[in-house]
Amino acid sequence: MSLIRPLADLVRDRETTAPTDASPQKGLSIRSLNAYYGTHQALEDINIDIHPGVVTSIIGPSGCGKSTMIRCINRMHEVVKGATATGSVLVDGEDIYGPDANPTRIRRNIGMVFQKPNPFPTRSIYENVITGLRLNMPKKPKYEYDEVVEKSLRAVALWDEVKDKLSVSGVALSGGQQQRLCIARAIAIEPEVLLLDEPASALDPTATMKIEDLLFELKTRYTIVLVTHNMQQAARASEVTAFFLADERHVGHLIEYGPTRQIFMTPADSRTEDYISGRLG
């Protein structure tokens, strides 16, 4: 018996929030993207349109290039020594790999949350949230920072838990709280796109659920791309799913892309079905 049934049951019924290009947020178009680590090619010829207003999840076995994929979307890929990428990623029609593109500015527009919670250890909870504002935006009066802190922490449902200890170091929180703090830090600078690289893989089930619920809230304001190795999570939290797989040369390819319901219930590619039913990876 295949696992497709039970997984498909997890897919939330939300036809109402189906992909639509009429939403006010920015979508992404990825065209002929290739990514390399030195001479090794990690991704080959990726083409995807990522829709605003929904959560897009990227799934696939380890080493299929899914993390590399989202790191290419905010040009974090090239931060790794020897890593390069070719092709184009259009945000609102503008190519972030264009000749005039400025990676630093792009990253202010496209936030990222990492696999391991990484609050700044020398900064308080308060300062962690506004780090992006402090370092990269013109100075603002204190009350505006206060507002941003409260708004961002409320958005990640952390405000009530930490409002009395905002001056405590960010690393004093639990893992799940730290990760929500990192999400608050990412949205404090009001990006248009939010990238999450396996944000719950280091967390326990309760904290994971909180993060997933959060995505549900955040997608109304941000275009969200979620990388996960957890298929249940993709089924629960996303409307659209992209399945990546590495070939025998360890080069990652996009195998199938479509509504999550379709990927989990009636996958078009046999490799997708094999992966989802647990016969692969």
Binding site: K81, M112, P121, T131, G132, S169
Partner: protein, 287 residues
């Protein structure tokens, strides 16, 4: 047969294991013992000559009793501080370049050069500053001594800060970069504050090492039997004073050499102990 072989092997393992532990413990004990022997010897021989005058007076000519090394203590403090002021930006800057910005061949070349500089015999540094500064700019001076000490300190600071920066997890840098922070701001506002206490410890190590250097000062600061606050003139320093006292044929001066050594060890020890204590507390507070 089978069982006997097994238990024999087991016995041998236990013996070899026990012997290894005993050997390691003995060697560790001996190393620490040597340190205690040195410090103990210095204390026994030096403590008798310590008195208030020793810290407040300048050396007396041979034959006159009393006198002190106040000028040498002053000279060491002044020259070491100035050397630190010169060396810290170079050392820290070099480490930041190597770890945070350097890519490719040039960065490796810089790294290699720093390693070579660290292994340079200190007398060579003295000769170098002598040829470059002493010969060309008004002779022996405190400045020349400071420069020589800073050349000693730069690679020590650079290497320890390099190691410290290497310990900063990349996830922290990525977190800041992903907020759209330019690389230089990531270094100044995120990376450095995270390891500031450790950087201070690294700098203090270099200061302690430089404060005890003799060879580079012989050819640069020269030494001085009187108080001198003018950096353009020859300056006294504790290692130089120890050297002068030690190579003399007089018993009284030998005792003073021991006493000076004791003071030097105490200053360096108190300094690094205090820095360790405060930076440790600081680290705990920031977490």
């Amino acid at each position: 047969m089978y069982r006997a072989g097994e238990s024999g092997k087991f016995l041998r393992r236990r013996l070899v294991g026990g012997a290894s532990v005993a050997l390691a413990a003995t060697l560790a004990f001996l190393s620490v013992g040597i340190l205690f022997l040195i410090v103990g010897h210095v204390i026994v021989n030096g403590v008798a000559s310590l008195n208030a005058d020793f810290f407040t007076k300048i050396p007396k000519p041979y034959g006159e009793a009393g006198g002190g090394i106040a000028n040498a203590i002053m000279g060491t403090v002044i020259m070491t501080l100035l050397a630190a002021v010169i060396a810290i930006p170079f050392g820290v800057g070099t480490a930041i370049y190597i770890i945070e910005f350097g890519r490719g061949r040039f960065a490796s070349a810089v790294r290699f050069a720093v390693e070579l500089l660290a292994e340079l015999p200190s007398i060579v540094v003295g000769v170098f500053i002598w040829a470059l500064v002493v010969r060309n700019f008004g002779g022996y001076s405190g400045i020349a001594g400071s420069l020589a000490l800073s050349v000693i300190m730069i690679p020590i600071i650079a290497r320890s800060v390099e190691e410290i920066l290497r310990l900063v997890p990349d996830s922290l840098r990525e977190a800041a970069l992903a907020l759209g922070t330019p690389k230089w701001k990531v270094v100044i506002f995120i990376v450095i504050p995270t390891v500031l206490p450790s950087i201070f410890t690294g700098i203090m190590l270099a200061v302690a090492r430089a404060a005890g250097e003799t060879a580079p000062l012989l050819l640069t600061a020269l030494g001085n039997s009187f108080f001198n606050f003018d950096l353009r003139k020859p300056m006294a320093a504790m290692p130089l004073q120890i050297y002068t006292y030690a190579v003399s044929p007089y018993d009284d001066w030998h005792n003073k050499a021991w006493a000076s050594t004791l003071v030097l060890i105490a200053i360096v020890g108190i300094l690094s102990g205090a820095v360790k204590f405060y930076t440790r507390r600081w680290k705990h507070e920031s977490h």
